[in-house]
């Protein structure tokens, strides 16, 4: 789950990472009140989960309430690369002497935590990595060891952070690492991490991505979930407990297992079609789940045909077939289904489908993934 900047800053604040005084606003009046409380000048920042906000006019400096009114009015409702701005973050503007970069992620290759620290902040880190890789310190941290004051100080020195900022950067690294580990982040990034003319080091931005698997130990994440930006199909799928990702195509996809679902998307693409979604129904594939999956797919008006791709391992073919027949009785589908049922007891399953009295205009069965994909794509054209 990706957090908005303001949520990231609120999350940072829980771990004592210094952030600017500010508040979130959904209306112009709220923005003015937030600015009054934060102290002028302020920065009004669009809250969208996409890069390039500044260039799109989504970040503005305001010296007084009138300017806040103007900027907040312009930014709220603005469309930035397809993301409509629903909230702005208004914070006290900081004087900036220098800009650095710091982040923690899990390096899957090394199976260790990775600190990236650079004195070249304020720009896309990918850009720094491409043009001046030597300017980024990449330090692996064994999760069993952790990162403490001495290690953080050494990192700051090794990254050639200027001496006057080393202590401040090291302090923040220790806190950010705690936030990353105890806060169960997939990513905790500060860009820019600034040095003020007064000598303090401070997080001017916050990019935080949370690990959904750790949800059970973070009741404080509830408020973040309320603002998560899902499309209507994704919302419905989540309510039904399905792994669903909305895409732009016309063939609705239902498969059991994430790998098989990805593979189904690929095969549809190979035979000239486009998938409307990724949907992993999981190992069970019973009637309830199947009905829910069909309901979600049916809510997508772009869907012209539905490809159900089930491989029976432990789940037997006849159980899957019974589930589909029952689900068809409960959901009135707009689009025809093509099914490929394979694996354990697939033949019994296919004969149940064939003898269920479902007209061929509504459901056809194909023996292989490729043939089923071809049939589904033909129906979607």
């Amino acid at each position: 789950m990706d957090l908005f900047e303001y949520q990231g800053k609120q999350y940072f604040a829980r771990y004592d990472i210094p952030v600017s005084k500010g508040d979130v606003a959904v209306t112009v009046d709220q923005a003015v009140a937030a600015a009054d409380a934060a102290g002028y000048p302020v920065v009004v920042k669009a809250q969208v989960q996409v890069g390039g906000r500044g260039k799109a006019g989504g970040i503005k400096l305001a010296n007084n309430a009138d300017e806040v009114r103007t900027h907040a009015g312009n930014i709220l409702g603005m469309d930035i690369k397809g993301h409509v701005v629903k909230r702005v973050w208004v914070e006290n503007a900081s004087d900036i002497a220098e800009e650095y970069y710091a982040s923690f992620t899990l390096d899957r290759g090394a199976k260790k935590h990775l600190l990236m620290l650079s004195k070249e902040g304020g720009v896309e880190i990918e850009e720094v990595a491409a043009t001046n890789p030597a300017a980024i310190l990449m330090l692996h941290i064994d999760p069993v060891d952790g990162l403490f004051a001495a290690g953080a100080m050494k990192a700051a020195v090794d990254a050639k952070i200027p001496e006057k900022a080393q202590q401040g950067v090291a302090d923040i690294l220790v806190k950010l690492y705690r936030c990353f580990v105890e806060g169960d982040c997939d990513l905790a990034e500060i860009n820019p991490l600034i040095l003020k003319p007064t000598g303090e080091v401070h997080a001017l931005d916050a990019k935080v991505s949370l690990d959904a698997n750790a949800d059970f130990r973070h009741p404080e994440w509830e408020e973040f979930k309320a603002t998560e930006e899902l499309d209507a199909r994704e919302k419905l799928a989540r309510e039904k407990g399905l792994q669903y990702i909305g895409l732009e195509g016309t063939v609705g996809i239902i498969a059991n297992g994430a790998g098989l679902a990805m593979s189904t998307l690929d095969v549809v693409n190979q035979v000239g079609g486009t998938a409307a979604n990724f949907l992993d129904i999981g190992g069970g594939a019973n009637a309830d789940l199947m009905a829910s999956a069909l309901e979600v797919i049916n809510s997508d008006k772009a869907v012209k045909s539905i490809f159900i791709n089930i491989f029976g391992g432990i789940t037997r073919g006849e159980e899957v077939a019974k589930g589909i027949v029952e689900a068809l009785g409960r959901v009135d589908l707009r689009a025809p289904i093509v099914i490929r049922l394979d694996g354990t007891n697939a033949e019994e399953g296919r004969s149940i489908l064939a003898n269920a009295g479902i007209p061929e205009s509504k459901l056809t069965s194909k023996p292989t993934m490729l043939e089923a994909a071809e049939a589904a794509v033909a129906l979607a054209k």
Partner: protein, 299 residues
């Protein structure tokens, strides 16, 4: 021969008294696996259809001499269960638990590396391992695995995805090609066992004559495997990578399956494997046909 597990492997099930543990533990036993004990704290002295249950892994190991464990406990308890097994002398741990926080996985993995370097963890979030006809630990349906033939050639399977592991087994069964061992390494960010670990074992296993590898988008495990194959694997291989059409920035079900920052794409992985001499199929069936051609050449 087979890799990691065979007919002599004695297995305990941590979580045998739970719904999933009982179901899969009994299935594994029915397949012929030596499931010798279960472990559930507080339920020691009871049994599950004749399989004795102990309070701790240490007690179960002392009583049965088990060397492998099947961990099927909820995400909150999984890390502790894995470390308990390692401390009790278990050398091969299969964890099928889905939904373990990445931070826990990273800490557990590195604790094993440091304190129990001889212990191998398979998973978490994996379908398990099957050496057909000998031992099945996990959730694979044994009937879809073709038995290895004494005269060969037999194929080893290593896969990051559950259902695609079954698909690979099935492709081989339909073609009558024997399987030495099939390993599902799982799709989580910090898998205990990597492609490379399995490839090394398959390369050294006299009963394995060719290898199928099933990968997916995200991370760099396939690219690292390709480097290893180039340098160390002489046995012929076919492969398939799922997720060619997956959009960037979206997690495709598995915690690990995500294309980010232009890295971890299916195309990059396929290119790396081809460059290492692996025959790469566009879908699982094609990977199966390519393997059939390889096997025909070996016969």
């Amino acid at each position: 021969m087979a890799i990691f597990v065979d007919q002599n492997t004695k297995v305990i099930v941590q979580g045998l008294t739970g719904g999933q543990g009982k179901y899969h533990g009994l299935r594994n036993k029915a397949y012929g696996t030596q499931v010798v004990a279960g472990v559930t704290p507080g339920k020691g002295g009871t049994d599950v259809e004749g399989i004795p249950v102990y309070n701790s892994v240490a007690e179960a190991v002392a009583a049965t001499g088990a060397t492998a464990s099947f961990v099927t406990v909820p995400p909150k308890a999984a890390s502790a269960a894995i470390l308990e097994a390692a401390a009790a002398g278990i050398s091969f741990i299969v964890c099928i638990t889905e939904g373990i926080p990445a931070q826990d996985e990273a800490r557990t993995y590195n604790t094993l590396v440091r304190d129990f370097p001889k212990v191998r963890l398979l998973g978490p979030n994996c379908p398990g391992i099957i050496s057909p006809g000998k031992c099945n630990i996990g959730i694979t349906a044994g009937e879809i695995a073709e038995l290895p033939s004494a005269s060969g050639p037999n194929v080893g399977i290593v896969s990051r995805s559950g259902t695609l592991t079954y698909q690979a087994l099935y492709e081989l069964k339909q073609r009558g090609i024997g399987v030495s061992t099939c390993v599902g390494i799982g799709g989580d960010p910090v898998p205990g066992t990597s492609f490379i670990d399995c490839l090394r074992e398959f390369q050294n296993d006299p009963e394995t004559h060719a290898i199928i590898m099933i990968g997916e988008i995200g991370g760099s495990a396939e690219e690292e495997a390709a480097e290893f194959i180039k340098a160390n694997v002489t046995k012929p291989m076919s492969a398939y990578i799922a997720g060619v059409t997956a959009p960037a920035g979206k997690k495709m079900g598995h915690a690990g399956a995500i294309v980010s920052g232009g890295k971890g794409t299916a195309q990059g992985k396929m290119d790396a494997l081809r460059d290492a001499g692996v025959k790469v199929g566009q879908n699982p069936t094609e990977a199966g046909s390519l393997m059939a051609e390889i096997v025909a050449g070996l016969r």
